[in-house]
């Protein structure tokens, strides 16, 4: 019985050429030996032949279908390119904002410091030192505020600080699969430093000390298979 069920299941496979010779032979034998199976087989064969005939009358996809598909694809790609261009422009705009908090301690910090000192030195014996320490804090404030961020100094992620006003810089996006080690080795090979990033879409700002090397450096980076996008910053 189980054998018959298996053979029954094989009728569609037999009719669509999916059986081995041995399996086909088994079905052929069943057709000869079992009239009920033969009837079953004949019904399936009729379905198969009927569908094959039906397909002859079926309409084909319209002649312009492929060009409609390509129009859709072109529109999709244009939209994608536009979105990525907008993302890059947004990323470029971000590093231009000067973050004064990186170079100037906030005023709140000094106020807090003075307050804490006051509480430490509120004991009468220590009162004599308050004036001197307040003077010292005020002095630090004045020094730090007068050395404002005229040149943008970034805390680098790959090494010592780079002053971008003296070098040249570029926007780079690395492949998602790029490892930190690969990025570090590539940047070391061209003496470039990461000075900002990554942004929301993975954009880094790289800098090199000598602007004369920018073309060669960009060429090397562009050729590296871990770099997805590169653009010189103006």
């Amino acid at each position: 019985m189980a054998d018959k069920k298996i053979t029954d299941e094989r009728i569609p496979q037999y009719l669509t050429g999916q059986l081995t010779d041995k399996e086909k032979h088994r079905v052929d034998q069943m057709i000869e030996d079992d009239p009920e199976f033969e009837k079953e087989f004949a019904e399936f064969r009729q379905i198969k032949e009927s569908l094959d005939d039906l397909s002859k009358d079926m309409p084909s996809p319209p002649a312009d279908a492929f060009s409609r598909i390509m129009d859709n694809i072109d529109a999709f790609e244009a939209e994608e390119a536009k979105v990525s261009e907008e993302q890059v422009s947004a990323e470029q705009a971000e590093p231009e904002k000067t973050d004064h908090s990186q170079v100037q301690p906030p005023l709140d910090f000094f106020a807090g410091l003075i307050e804490r000192m006051r509480s430490w030195l509120s004991v009468p014996q220590a009162g004599w030192g308050v004036a001197a320490l307040q003077m010292a804090v005020i002095l630090i404030m004045v020094i730090s505020m007068t050395t404002g961020p005229e040149e943008t100094t970034y805390q680098t992620l790959t090494g010592q600080a780079v002053i971008t006003t003296e070098g040249a810089s570029m926007n780079v996006v690395f492949q998602d699969t790029a490892t930190e080690k690969e990025i570090r080795e590539l940047l070391n090979s061209v003496s470039a430093k990461i000075v900002d990033g990554p942004g929301a879409s993975g954009l880094y700002v790289l800098a090199i000390d000598d602007p004369k090397n920018i073309t060669a450096v960009m060429g090397t980076l562009e050729a590296a298979n871990i770099v997805k996008f590169i653009q010189k910053r103006m």
């Binding site: 198969k48 009927s50 397909s55």
Partner: protein, 182 residues
């Protein structure tokens, strides 16, 4: 060309499509579009809807080629996309349009065909009248000649359910033929 060669060709073409090769995409389209269109036409029972969804299917193939995981044959994967889009279309249009279409088909078309044609045509007319679920499984197995495993992937049902559905579809077809011949 045997089935294995065609499968390999489909796979190689899709690999090139992933790399955005438009010539390979066109070749893949030529290789598969006729049967995808046939499948959609039978599922949707409307030439216009089949045409629109057909265009959408290949647009999705281009966009999502990179997501193909190689677990199935490329054609099976495309059929899966076609089925999902067709089912969405059926859900959108449903009731009003499909009912309208079925009524028209039954009243004006099928009955005449049944009376005019011989046994094979009777069978074709009956096939148009069985449920979409049964028609679909018969199409996939007998016309598209897909294996039970491939059909189970497209329909997202177990292989054994495919096998039993084929038998129920045949039984439903027989019932329709009896009804029509009365």
């Amino acid at each position: 060309m045997d089935k294995e060669t065609i499968r390999e060709q489909e796979r190689q073409l899709l690999e090139r499509v992933i790399k955005k090769d438009k010539n390979a995409f066109e070749a893949l389209y030529k290789l598969t579009s006729q049967s995808v269109y046939f499948y959609l036409y039978r599922l949707l029972q409307s030439k216009e809807a089949a045409e629109d969804i057909h265009v959408e299917v290949y647009t999705q193939v281009w966009k999502n080629a990179g997501k193909f995981q190689g677990k199935s044959r490329v054609k099976t994967w495309i059929f899966g996309i076609a089925r999902n889009l067709a089912l969405n279309e059926i859900r959108r249009e449903t009731i009003r349009k499909t009912q309208e279409l079925n009524e028209t088909f039954r009243d004006d078309h099928t009955e005449n065909r049944v009376n005019q044609f011989a046994q094979k045509q009777h069978l074709q007319a009956a096939m148009d009248q069985v449920s979409a679920k049964h028609r679909e499984v018969l199409d996939l197995v007998f016309y598209h000649e897909l294996s039970y495993q491939e059909v189970s992937m497209i329909l997202e049902i177990p292989e054994n359910t495919v096998k039993t559905r084929v038998y129920y579809a045949k039984a439903a077809l027989k019932e329709k033929l009896i009804e029509m011949e009365v």
